[in-house]
């Protein structure tokens, strides 16, 4: 596989993960708990888009937008029923609650749509080839969508009153409240943004592969990895973390570590040494553990 292809694949993976990771980091920072149900919101979005796209026959763009909005609204109602009553519970309690919630969400989806893979109705994908790279139109859309959402997020954070309130609340909730920012309101907005971004991220994955009820649980550690790598509470860190992870996963399998051990041909200790494909997932698990052991605040650190 040409190296450009590996780069493209890394970027695609990063695009998908980053939108989900941004949401996780926002909620983690504001509500101070690791939301194990976060990636399940992505799956809710994925299947809602299926309803809009396949059952109601809407085109994929409209479906994505509607599904993002509905996922956000579902998150708000779940917050009202569950998390709002637990604002001052401990981290572990909230984590376990979110896990129970995630379990319920994942299996509700499985009960409704069954465990078999499904896909959206989109035009047949003819790969475009250049420089020895093959990329499908959908993959280009995936990258473009991620970039659009990231830019939109940046503008939201810095150009709107809501963004200012979000930043203030995550820096110092008590102070923000004292200075008249409606923290509860900010929390609702953060839930909405976090989960609708997750929905879009989930749909991007589903567009490239297919829809599966457990696709959310399958990416929970990679998403946590990207988030912690970038530093909890730092959305830009989450994007960077996703990028780093995307590259690590793809290049981890691509690189011949034998070359490195032989110092680029100087020695001949080993012939070929690749990370076996079966360990693809272990790359993110390993990075996650390594970053937690060495620099739990992440590469960018907590927000400056």
């Amino acid at each position: 596989m040409p190296v450009f292809q590996v780069i493209i694949n890394s970027i695609i993976r990063a695009s998908e993960l980053s939108l989900i990771a941004i949401g996780l980091t926002l909620v983690y920072d504001l509500l101070k708990f690791a939301n194990f149900a976060h990636t399940e919101y992505a799956v809710v979005g994925v299947y809602l888009a299926l309803v809009f796209n396949v059952n109601l026959g809407l085109n994929i763009f409209t479906s994505v937008l509607l599904s993002a909005i509905f996922t956000g609204l579902i998150a708000l109602s779940i917050d009202r029923m569950v998390f709002r009553r637990m604002r001052d519970s401990g981290r572990v309690i909230l984590m376990v609650t979110s896990f129970g919630l995630g379990l319920a969400m994942r299996n509700t989806i499985r009960a409704i749509w069954g465990p078999t893979p499904r896909s959206y109705t989109i035009a047949l994908q003819k790969p475009i080839s250049f420089l020895g790279i093959r990329i499908t139109p959908v993959q280009i859309w995936i990258i473009a969508t991620a970039v659009i959402f990231m830019v939109a997020f940046h503008l939201l954070l810095h150009k709107t009153k809501l963004g200012k309130a979000m930043r203030a609340s995550s820096d110092n909730p008590a102070l923000a409240q004292a200075s008249g920012i409606a923290t509860e309101g900010v929390i609702l907005w953060v839930w909405f943004i976090a989960t609708s971004f997750a929905a879009v991220g989930g749909i991007l994955i589903a567009l490239e592969t297919y829809l599966l009820p457990h696709m959310g649980f399958a990416i929970i550690i990679p998403v946590f990895c990207a988030t912690i790598l970038g530093g909890i509470g730092n959305p830009y860190g989450a994007m960077l973390g996703a990028l780093a992870l995307g590259f690590a996963e793809n290049f981890g399998l691509y690189l011949n570590f034998g070359n490195i051990i032989n110092l680029g041909g100087l020695f001949d200790f080993v012939k070929e040494m690749h990370i076996p494909t079966g360990y693809r997932d272990a790359i993110s698990f390993g990075i996650l553990i390594a970053i937690l052991l060495t620099k739990p605040s992440g590469i960018l650190g907590r927000k400056s």
């Binding site: 572990v92 376990v96 129970g100 379990l103 319920a104 499985r110």
Partner: protein, 304 residues
């Protein structure tokens, strides 16, 4: 039917041991271990290796499984001192997945013979004293072994949690500062709780391997960890009887599909999903309305 009851009791007993061991770690010591299934997995695989490959007796398998899982517990307890509880929880989840991926990918361990290993799993794991019993009576014999192990585990844990050792664990549950100020070496206590609890989880693992006489990596998915968590939080954390009651309740839901499918005209797939929805919702409800679980922690009264 009575066969099925024996099966259900054996599984409940095995999960009861897991639940007691997580209760020691989380309920008494406050360690949010999200990688509990790793003990189960290591116990099962180590025992299988010792009995199938090394041709050792069943008891060697049990002990070996306990030692391996105990060592793993010791290993993952090391970073607790420097990691926040939620970070550590995520790290343990990843660590457990790495253990599972190891057994999924390293199929050479079991060689080329009749035992496949890897994704195919290992079949034909000998059951202790199988030739002494008929196929119908064997489960009852095995049930006796499981009950014996469960009772031993229960009394050991009960004794420990009531001892001065357990007192320090309980003090650590609410933060390190006080025990440290009283001169207790908290990291040592944590290591012991993790290693000891780990060994108990390993025991459950070898019991399950020799009962099913077949294991594969898919039996040790992260979900198992959370099923055990459900047992502890539903039954009542910090109460050993509670942990057992939780094991009975959750195991009942977990296996209920097997007999419900004859009475309820729903597709077995859907029913299987719904039981997980029930467990998920149960966790959330307990966290919302009964944080202490069904059976509250018992107050320790000292007679003057």
């Amino acid at each position: 039917m009575i066969q099925y009851l024996a099966y259900l009791s054996i599984m409940t007993g095995i999960y009861g041991i897991l639940s007691l061991s997580l209760n020691l770690q989380y309920g008494f010591t406050g360690l949010a271990n999200f990688g509990h299934v790793a003990f189960f997995c290591l116990g099962a695989y180590t025992s299988t290796i010792l009995v199938v490959l090394v041709k050792g007796p069943f008891i060697l398998g049990l002990l070996g499984g306990m030692v391996a899982a105990g060592l793993f517990g010791f290993l993952i307890s090391i970073p607790t001192a420097n990691l926040k509880e939620d970070y550590w929880a995520i790290a343990t989840l990843a660590a457990a997945e790495i253990v599972r991926l190891f057994f999924l990918n390293e199929d050479w361990i079991f060689g080329r013979g009749p035992y496949h290993g890897g994704a195919f799993g290992i079949g034909g794991i000998p059951r202790p004293l199988q030739s002494w019993f008929s196929a119908t009576t064997y489960p009852f014999f095995y049930l006796c072994i499981v009950i014996l192990c469960l009772v031993l585990t229960y009394f050991t844990v009960r004794f420990l949690t009531n001892s001065p050792f357990g007192r320090v664990l309980k003090a650590m549950r609410e933060g390190d500062d006080l025990p440290l100020a009283m001169g207790k070496d908290v990291s040592k206590f944590r290591m012991k709780a993790m290693a000891f609890g780990g060994a108990m989880g390993g025991l459950a693992g070898s019991l399950v391997a020799h009962f099913w006489s077949f294991i594969d990596p898919y039996q040790f998915m992260p979900i198992e960890t959370f099923v055990v968590w459900a047992m502890v939080v539903v039954g009542g954390k910090g109460n050993n009887i509670g942990a057992l009651v939780g094991a009975v309740i959750i195991q009942f839901f977990y296996s209920s599909t097997l007999f419900l499918k004859d009475f309820i005209p729903i597709d077995a797939q859907v029913l299987a999903s719904l039981r997980m929805v029930v467990i998920g919702v149960l966790i959330v409800l307990i966290m919302l309305f009964m944080k202490e679980g069904l059976i509250k922690e018992k107050k320790r009264i000292y007679q003057g």
